[in-house]
């Protein structure tokens, strides 16, 4: 190899190394969840959770359909019907709602009637409603509702529904479905 060619090769290797450093994925891309975006009624399949989002509604008071129990809030309830099952092994379900850069965890106030207190099973769908309490001033934004198996969703899949909350009215009361298994 001639000397100019060797210098050229060295420069090429340095440029390639620099490109690799620049192209290195950021932390969010390297460790963040893998998003499966779906529309309402469309089934989203992740690594260990399959889920379908149903109706989305907002209200000032949440009412549980099975008992009629009423839940008040200082903010606004966002209720999203879901049907979910696991894919390979039993898992819990956790929901989050992100709006305007803020993230809200699914409410645990429904206790055992909430789908997040159930263990999802492969091939045995469970239906219920995930509910969130959000500040009234955020009730007109675009929300991302996400479902994932229990545990950290890093490098795992999440099923995501994007909802324009401004297209929904805030009703005096909204209903939450008590969680339960449904026919496969």
């Amino acid at each position: 190899m001639t000397r100019p060619l060797a210098w050229l090769a060295a420069a090429g290797i340095l440029v390639a190394a620099g490109a690799v450093v620049l192209l290195e994925p950021g932390e969010q891309l390297a460790q963040g969840p893998i998003v499966v975006a779906v529309d309402p009624g469309e089934e989203g399949a992740g690594r260990n959770v399959v889920a379908t989002f149903g109706d989305v509604r907002m209200g000032e008071v949440l009412e549980l359909d099975s008992t009629g129990a009423m839940y008040t809030t200082e903010g606004v309830w966002v209720a999203v019907d879901v049907v979910a099952e696991s894919v390979v092994s039993p898992t819990g379900l956790q929901s989050t709602l992100e709006i305007d850069g803020k993230e809200y965890l699914g409410s645990e106030r429904l206790d055992t009637d909430g789908i997040e207190s159930w263990t999802l099973a492969a091939g045995l769908p469970t239906a219920g409603t995930v509910v969130f309490e959000i500040p009234p001033e955020l009730a007109g934004g675009t929300a991302h509702v996400r479902l994932a198996g229990s545990g950290t969703p890093r490098l795992d899949s999440v099923i995501e529904l994007t909802v324009d909350l401004s297209s929904l009215e805030v009703a005096p009361s909204v209903t939450a479905l008590a969680a339960g298994r449904v026919d496969p």
Partner: protein, 174 residues
């Protein structure tokens, strides 16, 4: 060209050794990962006794109930699901063991936890326990129930494990 020719053996060695080094470096982790996922099973069939963690276990009985039978309807099974029950004979060693029991499908890829009230209305047979009793004073029978989709009920396996003994586990063919 002469550079390539004069360094051909070193380049050839690099082509062989670089992938080999990668395989050697990653294989240990890969095998650990596979073992963690699938476990290191001791397989057993009905009537066969296996020793696991100093205690002895044997599959005494198993049965399936379809949703469209009278028993299935009495158990409140949903259409498309099957109830699977297994009874394990346990002879505890010096220290009665705790245990975790799951059901896997024939491929071993899907697993189910024990059935809850939401899946089926079931009752343990007389003289059987529903969990591994850590204060058992002698041999006992453990009966477990699972509800699975019909397609998983053809050749399921009972996955019997103790957290402190993993990846070693026992697989009973039902």
């Amino acid at each position: 060209m002469s550079w390539l020719k004069s360094n051909r053996w070193a380049l050839l060695a690099l082509v062989v050794l670089a992938p080999a080094a990668l395989v050697v470096a990653l294989s240990a982790g890969w095998f650990d990962y596979v073992e963690q996922q699938n476990g290191r099973p001791i397989r057993a069939v009905a009537g066969q006794t296996v020793e696991y963690g100093g205690s002895q276990f044997s599959l005494l009985e198993s049965y399936r109930v379809d949703a469209d039978t009278d028993r299935g309807q009495a158990a409140g099974l949903r259409p498309g699901t099957t109830l699977v029950s297994a009874t394990i004979g346990v002879t505890p060693g010096a220290e009665p063991p705790s245990c975790s029991v799951e059901l896997t499908d024939a491929s071993g890829e899907r697993r189910w936890a024990e059935a809850t009230f939401a899946d089926a209305d079931v009752t343990n047979a007389d003289g059987t326990e529903s969990y591994c009793s850590t204060d058992a004073e002698g041999p006992y029978r453990l009966q477990v129930f699972f509800v699975v989709p019909d397609d998983a009920a053809e050749a399921p396996e009972l996955r019997f494990s103790r957290l402190d003994l993993l990846p070693d586990l026992v697989l009973f063919e039902l």
